[in-house]
Structures are given as structure tokens and as C-alpha cells.
Symmetry: D3
Subunit: 147 residues, 6 copies
């Protein structure tokens, strides 16, 4: 069974993240969404909220599973038997970052990374944009998965 | 059965191309290497030479098949039942190019693209570098699959 | 009266070009579309075809004028009294190119350049993509202004 | 009357900012410089100092107005009747950032963005460079508008 | 005597840093490694540890000297008689950053900068990667100079 | 004696090239300007013209020598005893290109490359811009070394 891990903080999980998971599903038996939990890092949304929102977004998709982890991402990938990391790239800045992380994961831990390029209509979507809109009291629902 | 198409001119097929195919094999049942044949475009190596060199490079790997095509890449992918294109990205210039081709293939033909980032040790390897070395009478064998 | 010049080869004029002109219209009294004619450079579409297609695309917009020129773009801009060049940027490669051309036009000819970022849904659209699709006998009408 | 909004923190307003405003003036009836005030964000210079320094820099230019705002930039632009945002791009990193903000403003709020490329002689100028020089007790006056 | 300054926080000094110093040695009589000490900035490793680790890494190389400084890098370079700064560039993000710092140093202080491109096998190596691995209790010795 | 090779087609040699050579002189005993001669490649200016123009530009600088070569650049560097290649980088596109050439030269021929970042005032200067201006009958003397 081919599993891939899509890891992140997902603070919050956006329509951009959702689109990547949906596009990856045809190629894998299971897509694991891993919420990286880092006690030092403060988040805008609680872990419980992030977990339940992602679960709701995929409640009709049995091949998506949502898990929480505290270890290094590469260790978590091995622990759950994921064969690779799935990453999304919106732009050059993302690409340069992903390249150096992917190099490190391949060289240090033998872990492979597959990239999907974000669809242009989601290229501007980010968790930080959602948080900024909410901080100004604006409606961000167009950037979030439908309930 | 999950098939992916790795298409190119492969004039010639380098160790960089070979590494990408090997890295993709764990994720797919079959990797099709498609040699795009374009009558207008002159190549340094004959089609026969390119075809046999690639076949030799994978003679012990039954899950790699090498085919020649003359149509639009997206049409060829559908014809052979490939679910996506496999592309390699060495740098920013590659990424920008792949992004616009991938957008076009997704929007116009519903065809998905998966990217692998070239390993750093192959980032400088290209078919044009091989051709330039040969034009100056230098040895390019380190950039080509072992015989 | 504030005029801006949108210059190019437009071989052919795409929906991406059209969108840029429409987005610039609220800021200028007149947008001049200048078809640069270079006898040395072979085009896929004839000058007549390109000219009439662009005129048709804007037949209901009196503030758009289409002209043909053979001189250096900066000279043509001055000749018609345009205060600046309008350029569209789809990606990093476009940006780097536009930066060096804009620098040259500002320093050598005192001519200013205004940039609009291409809308993401048009980022993959280019004249060369249209020509490639047509060369393979495909339908490119989604990339061209409606008739 | 055509108004454009040039918004920022301007901590401090540099010769680079000043050059952009001057270059935009020929194309607009009024350039509004909007100092975004964010109570959470600490600044090096007080709001009063930033406001008066910018006003002094344009005291002979009646078509420049300096305003302070606390709302989302897009809301402020609408409130004052600005037809677009004016942004300066010094390099690729700026461009990628501006692209995603401009996409968001266009899609979420129907607000357009016009870009000017920073003149090369100002490409290294930034508010953070000024602050760093001052922190080390150096003279930064060449990077600031003349008094 | 030609001296060049390789300045940084080196928190910690990695195999990537070490490789750059070694590659610069054939071109200069002396390479000064300058540890920038900034009281405001917290580091993971103590100054003493960073200093002794770098000294150990070059204990057999009399043409490398390790110094600590608290002033602006450009001032320190002049103080020790260095003719230029040596900088390493791993990727585009590094390049854009180095360009703006190098422009500032050339224009404001008349100080030149020489760049070496990081070898691909070290492109993923960074002090922050080392710190992250250690924070998760992993072995980072492959990224650090041999003892 | 430390020699560095600055190689190119120099069709023509611009003020940008000249500035790089001058900036490199303090660090090397000799800067060799190598005009790469490629019989297949047509140039705008004759070899004789390019050679004499560069010699004139440095007639008062005995530490600059101008040579013509037909071999691979790396072979020529070794032949003349140059310890490294000197390259200029104007922008991201240059950087990506230089990175892959520098990697190839280091790995295949053990030849090192030193980069200088073009001064911003020369970032728009290129041989192709000069040729384009001349093709339109414009004055390009500001982009060329003074006679």
C-alpha cells in the first residue's frame, strides 16, 4: 500500500491545502495529513480545532487520515510507513525552501519528496493570509474548506 | 496499474535523467520514457541511438518502457494511459518553465504533473553540456549512464 | 491626455494580453497597442491578421487604438506621445527581463515603465503556447479573444 | 480625479520610497502616502516623526497627501477613493511577495495594484538598512530624503 | 598581503562554511573568520564554543585566523585591513540578500564582496538545520567539521 | 603570481565588462581577458575589432592581457595557468546559469569560479542591448568603454 505524508502546521488548513490533497489522491492509496505539533510554537487555532476542521473537510474520503505528531517530520514519516513527503509549491520562494528541506531529508534520512505545483487560483492562499484577514475582522471563508 | 510518463528529447539521456526515473519507480507500477520526435527539430544523436541507449540503461528494469511519439505530449500521455507527467526540476529557471507547462496541461487537457527535485550532484548535468563537451572532443562519459 | 503604450509582436494577441489592456484602461485616457514590425523576424500570423484580430477584440472600446511601428519602441512611444510603457509580468523570468529593459529605457531614453502582474489564470498563456497548439492541430480558441 | 495609494510602515521613509512617489506623480492626480499603523507592531521611529518627515519631504508637492490608517489596506484604499495600490519592486523576493498580495487584493477586494521597478541605484535601500546603520551609530542621511 | 574577511554568526560553523574557507585559501594570503557578536541576538551555542570549534577546524592552517567583533561588519573589515568580504551563495534567496548587502557595502563604505557558489552537496547545509536536528535530539555530526 | 581568466564573446565589450575587470584587479596579479572564438557562431563585430577595442580600453593597465582562444574555456584556463574563472552576475537568470557552469567546471575540470555582482548602474548593460541599439541606428557610446 502506497502512503504519502502531507505534513504542516495547518494554522489553519486552507482550500489550497485541500486542493493538493485531492490532487494527490489518484496517485496514492492513502494520504496522511500530519499536523506537526510544536510546544514552543504558538498557533492561532487550537490543535483540536485544526484537527476537527481537517477531518470534516475529508469526512467522505476514507483514504485520507489525519494524525498529530511531535517528532521530526522524517521520523514520523518512517513511523507511519509513508514512502515520501508530499509538498506544494506556490512560487520561487517556496521552491527554494522545499529544495533545501528535500535535500536534507533525502541525504540525512533517505526520505523522498514529491512536489505538486499549486494551482494558480490558489497561489495567493496561505494560512497567514487567513489569519491576517481574521485579525482585521474580515470574512476569510472563501479561503477555507466548505463546511 | 499506475503509469507515469517521463517525456523529453533526451539528446542524449543523461545520468540526471536516469536518476529521476529510478527515484520515481517506487511510486509507480510503470515509468514510460517517451522520446518526443519532432521532424523540424534537428538532434545531435539519431533517434535510433537515443532509443537503444535508454533501453540499455534500463535493461534490467522491466517496469521501465521506452517509446517514441510524434504527437503533443498531453495526447500521447492519454493514449498510453499515463496518469501524470513526471518532470525534474534542477533550478528556478526549470521551475518557472515547468509551472507554465504544467498549468497549461492541467487546464487544457486535465493532465497532472508530478515534480522531483534533481539531486544536487546532478544539478549541473544537462544534455546540452554533454553535447558541448563532445563538440570540443572531451570525455562526457561521467554524465551518461554506464554501459 | 494620458496615454500608455502596450507594445509587442502579438503573434498572436492572447486573452492574457487582452486582460492587461482592460485592466489598464481605468488608469489611462488611451491605451495604444503597438505591433512591433521587424522585417528580420518571421511571424506565424501575418501583420494584417494580427492587426485585424486586435482591432476586433476592442471594437467596442474607443479608448484603445492599434498601431504598427518599425522603429525602436522607445522612439515610437515618444512619437505618439505615450508617457510610459505598459508591461505584463507573469513570472520571475518575465520580471528579470522587464527589469533590464525598463532600466535601459529609463536611463537611455527617459521613458518610464508601469507593470501589471498577470492574473494567475492567465499566467500559463503565451503566444508561443498558442502557436505550439496550432502546430499540433489542436484548438487554441480558449487562449484567444472571443470573436 | 485619479488617486493611487502608496501604503507602508515607512520606518523610516527612505530616498527609495521618495523616488517611487515622484515617478508615480505624472500618472496620477494625487498620490496618497498611507502610513499603516499597527498597535501590535513596534516601530523604531514614532508615528509623529514618520508623519512629519514624509510631509516635509513633499512640502512643495500639493498632489501628495500623507495619511495614517489602522484598517486593512484594501479597506483604507476604498475609503479614500484610491483606484489602485502603488508598489515598488526591488528584486525577486519583493516581486513574489507583491504578487501574492496583489492577487489577494484583486480577488478578495477587487483592488488593483500597479508596480514600479525600483531604480537600480536605490535597490539596496531599505528601512531596515537605515535602522541597522543607526543602531551602529553610523550616518544614514544619504538614504533619507533631504531636509 | 591580501586578506579577506568571512563574517557570520556561525551558530554553529558548518561543513558548508568550512568548505568555503578552504576554497578561498588559494586566492588569498589570509582568510579571517569573523564571528559577529551581537549582544541583542541570542545564540544556541556560546561564543566560546563557536570560537574554539572554528579554531579546531583550522588548527593546521596558519593562514586562517578567527576573530570576534562587535562593530558593523564593514568597519571591522577596515580595522583588520581586509580588502573584501567573502560570501557564500547557496541559492536565489541567498543571492538576492547578498546583492543588496554587497551594494550597500560598496556604496556606503567602498567595501568589495567576492562570492563563491556553495558546492551542491552543501547547498542544504545551514546552521539552522543543525540547530533543528539537535533540538530533536538527532545526530548532526555529518554537517559539522570533523574533530 | 595569481591570474584569473575573464572569458566571453564580448560582442562587444561593454562598460559593464570593463567595470568587472577593474574591480577584480586589486585581488589578482593579472586579469586575462579571453575572447572565445567559435567558428560556428556568427558575431556582430569582427574578432579584430573586439580585440583592439578591449586592448585600447586597458592600454594603461599592464596587468590586463587580452587573448583569443578556440578551445573549451576550462582547457584554456589551465593552459595559461589561470587559477580561476571570473564571472559577473547581473541578476537571477545570470546566477542560475553561472551556478550550473561553475558546478560543471569544478566537478569535471577542478576549476574554480569567483563571482562579482554587477554594480546596479550596469545591471541593464549587455552586449545584446548594444547590438540592438546599433541595429536601430542609435548611439550606444554610453554603454561602451571611452576611447
Amino acid at each position: 500500500m502506497k502512503k504519502i505524508l502531507f505534513a504542516g502546521t495547518f494554522d489553519p488548513f486552507t482550500v489550497g491545502h485541500q486542493a493538493i490533497v485531492k490532487r494527490a489522491l489518484p496517485f496514492f492509496d492513502e494520504v496522511i495529513i500530519g499536523i506537526g505539533q510544536n510546544m514552543q510554537k504558538k498557533t492561532f487555532f487550537s490543535l483540536e480545532k485544526r484537527l476537527s476542521d481537517i477531518q470534516n473537510a475529508f469526512e467522505n474520503e476514507p483514504r485520507v487520515r489525519v494524525l498529530v505528531y511531535e517528532s521530526l517530520t522524517a521520523d514520523f514519516a518512517k513511523e507511519i510507513g509513508a514512502e515520501a513527503l508530499l509538498r506544494s509549491v506556490r512560487n520561487i520562494a517556496d521552491f527554494e525552501y522545499e529544495r533545501s528541506v528535500a535535500d536534507a531529508n533525502r541525504r540525512l534520512f533517505g526520505l523522498e519528496t514529491l512536489l505538486l505545483i499549486a494551482e494558480p487560483e490558489y497561489a495567493h492562499v496561505s494560512s497567514s493570509l487567513v489569519r491576517e484577514l481574521l485579525a482585521y475582522g474580515k470574512d476569510a471563508s472563501k479561503l477555507l474548506p466548505e463546511k
